[in-house]
């Protein structure tokens, strides 16, 4: 019985905690409070994961109104997997956030930061647990609005324009999703995802459904930053506060991919999705182009965070590429990469936050000679970077392996080539950071730049070591991803 309550608690706890932060205006206290709440959410997520893998999906009816009339929360393996990822990353990032925020935000703003952070977390968790499409829309908007706020808190004034552009694009995307939802409702009269998946099967020839599908997919792709709908992301990640960048980079787009998975394979159904639109071709082409273009653009950036932002766009393109394979192994590759990429980007952005903390700038030029002065921080960046490239013994290699296997299985040699070529491009943009940090002498050698404080190094290294650990002990990722793949492909929902 308790476990059934977990589903709603997962969302309600951070939701209520957010305004409570508003009441407690003290910077350090709100941080501790937010950290506790996030940790609590992680525990709930892990409990849910255990529950789901042993007993099957967890279902909860809000207000005891049964589906399909009432709103239902439904968590299966895929959902629990993502919940674990989002909450764990959130907690680890929050561990480091106190010091980082102190250096980037004014004292009055810090508590407000945590309010927005918790709301964003609520929104994302809500997206994952809900089984009702309109509820999904609401949570999408909650997380979006909270993230606009988070981004706008950046020091640089460009954070404001970045947040504004993101707002326009995000709302556009959400509204497209709303249109899709409306059209689906018109066809079936239900808002429950499971119910929809059953009813939409008979309607697969309907033009309305086709329109609904198109609007929905485009809307989600806007949120996903799938090339060519990606232009809001670089500025948004670059100019936002470091903690927000780390959090959003590791989680926000993954949740969007979750929505895509849920709807393509669940609600609309695999058969319809891939035959209504030439979805396989579209996703694969956009994936390939995204990988190549975004990685190349990353090479030319002068700001470390911008490099990582473009890198994120490329990595998302990878996930969409393998999703587009429409095969068991392709889906497995996407799911594994969701986990691995969260680890990689989380570690890298957090390490960059530590650098920002010490030198106050993210321009690569300023990194000269830092390899010597901040050895631990940059060692973490090296490992994270190598993971991004896909060196064996890191999570990046595991992702690449699955992706290559998935593409070679279908005999698509060119696709496999693109995948490894993307690794090479990643090596180029990552190496620029290494070279500047280690091979160039510092501009002002007399200026003593200290290593990042321990309270920052610990979360950074937690994530970095996770990069290596999960690159060696793949059992957890593999098992859960396999179960999730089976549940996606096996049944409608």
């Amino acid at each position: 019985m308790m476990s059934n309550q977990l589903a709603i608690l997962q969302v309600v706890i951070p939701l209520i905690a957010a305004p409570l932060c508003l009441l407690v205006r003290h910077a350090k206290l709100t941080w501790l409070f937010a950290l506790t709440i996030s940790a609590l959410c992680s525990v709930i997520a892990l409990l849910l994961l255990q529950q789901v893998t042993t007993h099957g999906p967890v279902v909860y009816a809000l207000g005891d109104w049964q589906a399909p009339i009432g709103i239902e929360y439904r968590i299966d393996v895929l959902g629990a997997y993502l919940l674990t990822i989002v909450t764990s990353i959130s907690t680890i990032i929050l561990l480091a956030s106190s010091s980082i925020n102190k250096s980037e935000l004014s004292k009055q703003k810090q508590p407000l930061f945590y309010v927005a952070y918790l709301l964003c977390l609520t929104g994302m968790l809500g997206i994952i647990v809900t089984g009702d499409v309109f509820n999904l829309f609401i949570f999408i908007e909650i997380s979006a609005l909270a993230s606009y706020t988070l981004i706008a808190m950046g020091k640089d004034r460009r954070a404001l324009t970045a947040a504004f552009s993101y707002l326009l694009v995000g709302t556009l995307g959400a509204t497209f999703i709303l249109i899709g939802i409306g059209l689906m409702y018109m066809l079936t009269g239900t808002l429950n995802m499971h119910d929809l998946s059953v009813r939409l099967v008979e309607l697969s020839q309907s033009r309305t459904l086709f329109t609904a599908f198109s609007f929905f997919i485009v809307g989600v792709c806007l949120k996903l930053a799938l090339f060519p709908l990606h232009w809001w992301l670089p500025n948004a990640y670059t100019y936002s506060p470091s903690v927000a960048s780390a959090f959003l980079a590791a989680t926000a787009t993954k949740v969007a991919i979750y929505i895509l998975l849920r709807f393509i394979f669940g609600v609309f159904g695999q058969e319809f999705s891939f035959s209504a639109l030439p979805l396989q071709n579209i996703l694969m082409t956009l994936g390939i182009v995204g990988i190549l273009v975004a990685s190349t653009m990353a090479i030319y950036q002068k700001n470390a965070k911008q490099i990582l932002a473009y890198s994120s766009i490329a990595q998302i393109a990878y996930m969409i590429l393998t999703l587009g394979f429409n095969s068991h192994n392709g889906l497995l590759a996407t799911l594994i990469h969701i986990f691995n990429h969260a680890l990689m980007k989380g570690a890298l952005f957090l390490a960059l936050a530590a650098v920002m903390y010490r030198i106050g700038s993210m321009e690569i030029k300023q990194f000269a000679g830092l390899g010597k002065q901040m050895p631990w921080t940059f060692a973490a960046i090296v490992i994270g970077g190598l993971s991004l490239v896909g060196i064996p013994l890191t999570v990046g290699f595991i992702s690449k392996w699955y992706m290559i296997v998935a593409s070679l299985e279908n005999g698509w040699w060119p696709v496999a080539l693109v995948i490894v070529f993307g690794s090479l491009l990643a090596a180029v943009y990552v190496w620029r950071i290494f070279e500047t940090a280690y091979l160039q002498t510092a501009h002002e050698p007399n200026k003593q730049i200290k290593e990042a404080p321990l309270r920052l190094l610990i979360p950074v290294w937690l994530l970095t070591l996770a990069n290596i650990y999960f690159g060696i002990d793949v059992r957890f990722t593999q098992n859960i991803a396999e179960l999730a793949t089976q549940s996606i492909l096996g049944s409608a929902m």
Binding site: F134, F137, I138, E141, L145, Y148, T149, A152, R157, R158, L160, T161, A163, F164, L167, L168, T171, L172, T175, L178, I179, G182, Y185, M186, L191
Partner: protein, 120 residues
């Protein structure tokens, strides 16, 4: 295609496209927000119009509703739209406050001028 029957969809489409156009084409940030709002409104109209049933009355329980065979319009889309309107308002509020902050930081709210200032 009977225009009279699907006139609500036409209205929705016209509003949607106008909103989208304003959003993209206008340089002034406030006008962009207006465009966004028009765009969102078109979706609201889509929902509400789909909820309507010809010859039905408003979905309010009253004395008269105790009669059987009374047709009500679907209240669910109305509910959804109320929620969506609230979301829309929050978004607009956030957008407008961002504009105020932008104005303070850049002294302009024209997109191209901001772009130039950022490029420097």
């Amino acid at each position: 295609m009977n225009v009279a029957e699907s006139f609500n969809y036409w209205a929705v489409m016209i509003l949607m496209m106008s909103g989208l156009y304003i959003l993209i084409a206008q340089g002034n940030l406030v006008k962009k927000v207006i465009g966004l709002t028009i765009f969102q409104t078109s979706v609201f109209i889509l929902y509400i119009s789909m909820a309507n049933i010809t010859g039905a009355s408003a979905p309010v329980i009253s004395e008269a509703s105790s009669q059987t065979n009374l047709l009500f319009s679907n209240p669910l889309p109305h509910v959804m739209i109320l929620t969506a309107i609230v979301v829309g308002i929050s978004t607009t509020a956030l957008a407008l406050s961002l504009i105020i902050r932008i104005k303070r930081a850049y002294d302009t709210i024209e997109e191209d001028e901001i772009h130039d200032m950022d490029a420097q």
